[in-house]
């Protein structure tokens, strides 16, 4: 199941739904708004993030990722949710839960789903810094595929 939502993500509910007796392991990932990015002189304080998406395409892309994960691992539950609009500090912009008979599948699927989502879902983050400035985040193409974007 996938979802693009304008409201806070209810991770506890997602977790409960993934706890099915045919599963033995549940892995939940949350990407949350981090307050400080960069280090040393480049340290910047974030006040909040806002997210925008090409919504129908993001839904299609997340559905493709769920289908691909289900082909690759024997998942019981697989739920990917991305929030749009304003996401305050420490709140989740993205939540992924995967449950499977054994823990390897749940861990690997969870990691793969967030890696792929960050690579391909047409969703963009805008930094709202504590100094009042804002900045759309468009990672440079020279960034290695597995590197972290500034605020995650």
């Amino acid at each position: 199941m996938i979802e693009i939502t304008d409201r806070p993500i209810d991770a506890a509910k997602m977790l409960a739904a993934a706890q099915q007796p045919s599963a033995g392991a549940v892995v939940l990932f949350l990407g949350i708004t981090r307050e400080f990015t960069g280090v040393g002189d480049a340290l910047r304080q974030t006040d909040r993030l806002t997210y925008e998406a090409h919504r129908p395409m993001a839904e299609a892309e997340l559905a493709r990722l769920e289908a691909a994960a289900r082909e690759r691992w024997p998942l019981v539950a697989c739920h990917v949710v991305h929030r749009l609009g304003e996401v305050p500090l420490a709140e989740a912009s993205v939540a992924i839960v995967a449950s499977s008979p054994h823990r390897a599948g749940a861990f690997e699927a969870g990691r793969w789903l967030i890696d792929e989502l960050k690579r391909s879902a047409p969703i963009w983050k805008r930094e709202h810094f504590a100094d009042g400035s804002t900045e759309w985040v468009h990672p440079s193409p020279t960034t290695p595929p597995r590197a972290e974007s500034p605020a995650r």
Binding site: A53, H54, M57, K118, R119, P122, W124
Partner: protein
Amino acid sequence: MTVSVQLFAGAREAAGVDALVVELSADATYRDLSRAIAASHPALERLVAASRFAAGTSYASAGDLVDPSVEISLIPPVSGG
């Protein structure tokens, strides 16, 4: 042909509009579209070079022919998650 290209995030901000209208030859590819945008909108030149296009809800390849019957979007480097 005339195609309309939806803009998002930093591309929309740089262009100051939600969509661009671009005039292309009938056999134009997304690579041609990219060049046409860079030429007509210098403010987008760098971001367009790093962007992909979507035709409907799927990514298009640079060499695909532009199909004006589907919704075309410029997808700058993504930062969801």
